[in-house]
Subunit: 194 residues, 2 copies
Amino acid sequence: MVEVLRSYLAEKKVELTEEQFKLWTSRFTPKKVRKHEFLLNEGDVSKHAYFTVHGCLRMYTVDNKGKEHIMQFAPENWWLGDMESSTTHAPSVYFIDALEDSDVLVMDTDSWEKSLKEIPALAMLFQRLMQNRQTATQKRIIFSMSASAEERYLDFMKTYPNLAQRIPQHMIASYLGITPESLSRIRKQVVTKR
Amino acid sequence: MVEVLRSYLAEKKVELTEEQFKLWTSRFTPKKVRKHEFLLNEGDVSKHAYFTVHGCLRMYTVDNKGKEHIMQFAPENWWLGDMESSTTHAPSVYFIDALEDSDVLVMDTDSWEKSLKEIPALAMLFQRLMQNRQTATQKRIIFSMSASAEERYLDFMKTYPNLAQRIPQHMIASYLGITPESLSRIRKQVVTKR
DNA sequence: CGGTCTCTTGACGGAGTTCAAAGCTAGTGG
DNA sequence: CCACTAGCTTTGAACTCCGTCAAGAGACCG
C-alpha cells in the first residue's frame, strides 16, 4: 500500500533515493479503519501520524457547550494528526475518527521524527506543508470574520468540490461554524438563486 | 541592543555558545520605527523578520469589503513577519505597521535561513514557536465559532492583560472580529456586571 | 485652538440560532 | 429482501446578538 506514497511524492516534487524511500515507507503500518472508528481520543497523548489512502478522516474538538467543531478533514492523500500533542506529549484536545471505511497508513511519532532527521528532503516537504496549513488556518480566521455563512459555504464547495457529496451536511456545518439548520436554508437559497 | 536577546533566549531555555550568539546577533540591525510607520505593505515580498524590543507592532489584512483584520500583535519580546511571503517569495497579503514608537531588531530572510541551518538550537526554538502559533491560531478559530463576543473579549484581556491599556479599543475590536461599537457596549456590560 | 481621531450611545434591521415537528434516507436484523 | 428504526435533513416561528447608521462628547496633536 505504501506504493501510493511514490506518486504522492512525485506530485509534491520531492525526490528521494530508492534507499531513502524504502527506509521511510518501511516505517508505515497499513490499517483499515471502519466508519465511526476512533484513532485519537481527547485526553490521550497522540503517538501517531496518519495518511489517508482511501476514505476520509476528520479531526474535531468539543467545546464547553458540548458542540463539535471540525478542525480538519483528511480525504485521500491528506496527512492528519495532532502535531502539538505528538511533539509536546501533552494530552490532545482533539478527536480523530473516520467518516467512511478508510485505508490509512500509520507511523508512530518516534519513527516520524527519526525520518525527518535522516531524510532532509522530507523535512523540507513537511515544513512546507506546515507553512501551508498555517496560511490556510489564518485565511479561515479572516474568512470567518468577514464573510457571510453563504460565502463561506460557496468557498468550501470550491475548495473541496467532491467532499460535499460524500459527507453529511451537518459535518460541513460544523466545519463552517454554523448550525445544520442554517446550512440547509443556505443551500436552498443557493439552488433557487440560479 | 541585541543584548536583550540574551535574556530572551534564557527565558526560552535555549543555550547557545558565545560564538553562536555573536554570530546570530551580528546579523540583526536595530531600527527605530515611528508610530504609524509601515514595515511591510500588501503586495510587497517580505524580506525581513522583526523582533520587538520596545513598543508594539501589528500585522493585518484588508478584506474585499475594505475592513481591517488584525492577525497578530507584537509587543515586547515578540517576533513578527510574514513567514509565508518570506519563504515562497510571493507577494504578502499583510500590512505590518507600528502602533507605538518602537525599537525593533531586523534580520533579512537570507541571514535568517542561514542562521537556522548553522545553529540547530535556534531551528528547534523556531519550530517550537511555529507550533505554538499554529495551536493558538486553531484555538482562535474554535473560539470565534463557539464563544460570544463578550467571552472572546474577556479571553483577550486574560491573554494580553497589559496590551488593552496601551492600544486603541478599535484595534482590539478588529482582532476580535467585531465592530468598535459592539466592543464599547460589551465593556460597559462587563463593568456594570460586577 | 481647531480639527481629526476615538469612544460612546441610541434606534433599527438582519443574519443566524434555537426549539419543535415532520419528512426522508440508509443501515440493520429478522 | 423487506420492514423498522435511528439518524439526517428540511421547514416554520420566535428570538437574540451583533452590525449599521447617525449623532454627540471627549481627547489628543499639530
